[in-house]
């Protein structure tokens, strides 16, 4: 067994050095304040013109491509609307090969904690499999599940739950 002794401070430094991570955090924060239902996968939700994003930037990916897809309750099937989004993601990633990605799988809160961790992982895996089928190399992709622990929409009805059943493609630094 390995001993853990990494101090929390080093994590903060890692985040501070990584502008992509910071940008993502800020994007989510803006969405959370503006509305509890709209998510930053369209330009209107952010109050940004589509043309504002620099091609190849994080903002370009989030605003013009769409960084997330949604799932039906208890399902990890990639819906038709999600297939279109993932196809755009694959094209964009082919055009900008320096990015590695982390696919985050999430669940809504209408399930128990441990099952939702597995369900989020299942959604992330299905998303990765679809992107691989679209030609994204496996060594550029990693997955993580957050279960129901990181909702973006916080109301207690279906309008929020449907927004939280998602897989989010997060751009990392230079790909390996």
């Amino acid at each position: 067994m390995s001993r853990i002794d990494a101090p929390a401070a080093s994590r903060m430094q890692t985040i501070a050095r990584n502008p992509v991570m910071l940008a993502l955090v800020m994007t989510l924060a803006v969405a959370g304040c503006a509305s509890k239902k709209n998510l930053p996968n369209d330009a209107a939700g952010l109050g940004l013109g589509a043309g504002a994003a620099t091609p190849g930037s994080q903002q370009d990916f989030t605003v013009n491509v769409g960084d997330r897809i949604f799932f039906d309750t208890d399902s990890s099937s990639i819906r038709a609307d999600a297939q279109a989004t993932l196809a755009r993601q694959a094209q964009w990633l082919a055009k900008y090969p320096n990015y590695a990605i982390t696919i985050e799988g999430h669940a809504d809160e209408r399930g128990t904690r441990e099952y939702n961790l597995a369900l989020g992982a299942r959604r992330a895996a299905a998303t990765r499999e679809f992107l691989a089928g679209q030609g994204v190399p496996a060594n550029r992709m990693r997955t993580i599940s957050y279960g129901k622990e990181k909702p973006v929409a916080v109301c207690d009805d279906i309008s929020c739950w449907s927004q939280n059943r998602r897989a989010v493609t997060v751009l990392g630094g230079a790909g390996s």
Partner: protein
């Protein structure tokens, strides 16, 4: 840290009688009856001073919260106890219908230790039921009170108490979409709460080892969701095993030698154990489903878990080696988070049906399902060590976060446990031996 031998228990004798013989006692509670009428009990202020009174207040609060006792308002007391060594005036207590009477005294020894003594009287039989004294450090005064309450509970109900126990849980703070989570520990009545972790990593599902010295839990440290061990006394943490993916849903085996958990690989979760001494891992399930939330039977021979192998989440029981996997839940809806009772007779679970989340129990063969509480969201039961009380977390619609609740096995006596902020994932400790 509290050590096992910090208390010395001495049986107090009164008038030559050690204990009243159980056959002579008229004061008893049959807690198998369901909604029992609470037993009227008079808990007098222990003599002498503020700390003594605080100890008797905690004793009364424990007994009251159990739902089995009704402490009588002190304003109604007729006799003022001046000498705890003398027999009380039983008539004075019978007339206010105090069927049991608790009298005590707390003094400080020359070496600074506290000496706490109490006697439990059966007022209608006119007999002492119990007399004990304890020595401890003054900072352990709440523990002494809980131990006295346990002794009274056990003497009158015939069941082990659960007041000298702790809860490990997840303390939640901040908005729902940026929640901070810390492992925390507190006494079962919500006092003496303290954080065990302080980082921005998500931490989930803490559970006690059988000797109460370790916690196994899940953490997202370094963006690597894994099962960890935490030594309570030293704060030392370790990853459990070297698995190629997310590990989650950990629990100890009853002998404390293994951790059972799920390993996620691609879309599937299967159940594994890791032996903490040899570090060997054993795979127990092998399906293309989500197999998780494993919990051992108290004899260690069987494991209950949840699986969606049949479509929805349902409960299954298997041998501890993975043999004979058998579905036991067949009601409407889905079943998850099974936890085997410390008595072995029941399995508690979360049930989702009709848009509601319930806490319920069933026998290990799946028969006798009973729902204890239903609402917008109830999840994650944990058993008190005597198998009579369950704790779980509840989030009401619009509440913003979860809170901890306890409920009797009978479905009565639901109580909120006061925590500083939101709280979830409670796990009850075993009793200290």
């Amino acid at each position: 840290m509290l050590r096992r031998n910090f208390l010395r228990l001495v049986t107090l004798m009164f008038a030559g009688a050690l204990f009243a013989a159980p056959a002579n006692a008229v004061v008893e509670i049959d807690i198998n009856k369901g909604n029992v009428e609470p037993l009227p009990i008079a808990v007098t202020d222990f003599l002498q001073g503020e700390l003594a009174q605080k100890i008797s207040d905690v004793v009364a609060a424990d007994l009251k919260r159990s739902g089995l006792f009704a402490p009588i308002d002190k304003g109604a007391f007729i006799e003022k106890i001046a000498n705890p060594d003398a027999a009380p005036r039983f008539e004075d207590w019978k007339v206010i219908n105090a069927q049991a009477l608790v009298i005590g005294r707390v003094t400080q020894e020359g070496d600074g230790r506290l000496k706490a003594e109490f006697r439990l009287w059966d007022t209608f039989a006119g007999q002492q039921m119990l007399g004990q004294q304890f020595y401890t450090q003054p900072e352990n005064w709440r523990r002494v009170a809980h131990i006295i309450a346990d002794a009274i509970y056990e003497r009158i109900t015939g069941e082990k108490g659960y007041f000298d126990t702790r809860i490990v849980y997840v303390a939640e703070s901040g908005p729902k979409n940026a929640r901070k989570r810390q492992l925390a520990i507190m006494d079962q009545d919500g006092f003496n709460a303290r954080a065990l972790t302080n980082s921005n990593d998500i931490v989930l599902t803490p559970r006690f080892s059988p000797n109460r010295q370790e916690i196994t839990y899940m953490s997202f440290e370094n963006q690597q969701p894994r099962v960890y061990l935490l030594q309570l006394e030293t704060g030392q943490r370790e990853v459990v095993g070297n698995f190629p993916g997310m590990t989650f849903a950990p629990r100890f085996s009853p002998d404390g030698q293994r951790v059972i958990m799920s390993l996620q690989q691609e879309g599937n979760a299967n159940i594994y154990t890791m032996d903490l001494r040899s570090r060997t891992t054993t795979r127990l399930t092998n399906t293309n489903a989500i197999d998780t939330s494993p919990s051992y039977s108290p004899d260690g021979a069987r494991v209950v878990f949840e699986s969606d192998r049949g479509g929805k989440q349902q409960l299954y029981v298997m041998g501890a080696d993975g043999s004979g996997q058998t579905r036991i839940s067949f009601g409407d809806g889905s079943y998850s988070t099974p936890v085997w009772s410390p008595r072995g007779d029941l399995i508690a679970f979360t049930k989702q049906s009709g848009g509601k989340f319930s806490i319920g129990v069933m026998k290990p063969d799946g028969s006798g399902e009973r729902i204890l509480t239903t609402g917008f969201h109830n999840e994650g039961p944990t058993w008190a060590p005597n198998g009579r009380v369950l704790m779980f977390f509840r989030q009401n619609a619009g509440a913003g976060g979860p809170q901890l609740y306890s409920i009797d096995l009978t479905g009565y006596n639901e109580q909120q446990i006061q925590t500083q902020g939101f709280a979830s994932d409670p796990a009850w400790s075993p009793l200290m031996e």
